[in-house]
Amino acid sequence: MGDGPVKDAQRRISFRGGGFDPRPRPLVAWIFFAAVLALWQAGSSAGVIDSLFLPSPARIAVALQELIASGDLFRHLGASLARIGLGWLIGAITGVMLGGLIGLSWLGRSAGLPFISALFPVPKIALLPLLILWLGIGESAKVVTIALGVFFPIAISTYAGIDNVPRNLIRMAQSFNVPLSAIIWKVVVPGIMPSILSGCRISASIALILVVSAEMIGANVGIGSFLLTTGNLMQTDQLMAGIVAIAVLGLLIGALISWLERVLLAWR
């Protein structure tokens, strides 16, 4: 139609196809984030916000700097990361193994799926007291709690991933007499990578929740125990600094998984 003149007898058709296209604009995100911080800082400076309960962003930044300088932050974060790393590794390896059995064999599916379905809804932190009874108050109970939290989403995303590998690709490989082991390595394993990586993303956030919870229940060092102690002592600036540190850790883990997705799933 164009924008040219419209004669008397003609009527321009009005546009009605807009909206429903909420594309984010990064600059707006930064401006909004800065505005919230500025408002918060202004509220604290003006005395509207009680700094004992919610310290100002500037005080939190100072506390964070002090925690970094004293080495306390990395001592606590290091202990938490070691627990997450070990628990995640154990949970992920066993999860992929059981998920693989459920995805590939009728026996594995018949025996394993009811087990997964029954235990998946149990909040894993609820098992910590039992695990402490079995394994003692040391590292093992916390690591196993994290491993259990990671195990289920990884197992589920593994067998769901196998279910979603297009059967025509498997039939194609069979039609060329590709041996079973090669079908698993060349067709199934690359085919489940998207699902496994989204399982990693979910399980990493579960591991973070569980490590903080477990450390609040029984640990002397670790970010969870640090948060609990600072809360008890009303050191809210340090408490908030700890929360910021966990948020940054979560973002870094998310960024690592996004990078893995870009590298491993470049074919999508």
Partner: protein, 258 residues
Amino acid sequence: MAFELVVSGLSHRYGALSVLEDISFTIRQGEILAIVGPSGCGKSTLLGIAGGLLRPTAGTVSVAGAMPASLNPFTYIFQDFALLPWRSVAANVRLPIEHHPVSASDREKLVSDALARTGLSEFAGALPKQLSGGMRQRVGIARALVVRPALLLMDEPFSALDAQTRDLLMGDFEAIWAREKTTAAYVTHNLHEALRMADRIMILRRRPGRIREIVPVPIPRSERRGAAAERDLVRIHGELWGLIREEAQLADREIAHG
């Protein structure tokens, strides 16, 4: 001695649904047999059984005579190409021969030869997502050619492509066929395709799928696109359409159950 694929007394059921019933026919070495019929007549099931991907409820598929040497005698070309999206074009074509005891240099030679025969040499490193539908099916054809198949089983190989690409690809395939004389079973619902490619056309009726008729196309493939053959082809097309029209209408009006 030439070989024949002999399908004898084949029946297949999916639960209570009888899909194929008492199908018997042969495919002779060097010929292309088109299998045509309305939706739901069991064409793809028949092809799956012929190449050993499906186990029939009754009947046998066997080979009489000696088959030519091949790394995979019964080789499929799939409607949806069935390419591994994480592998490059060359790696997809290499897949069928990776488990054969062939030296690495011979393997690469086989792959580059198959790519050259299908006009894909310059796309060897591309990923499937970077290719058009026509190019993807060329990869499917190259992957089939790399094993030097004795019998090609083609399941609606061009039906996922637009009309122009289909025409181009059929032309390519005719040229390949003229060189290699590969035996093929060619499933299609498109009578024009069948009349262009096949030596004989097997018409299936549906529910249960039975052979209605096997019609020869008595015009050499190389002459079918000329004006002289047009009248004969139109006549055969009319006869074939008469055989499947009623059932195609029934298939079109059917409500899916289950």
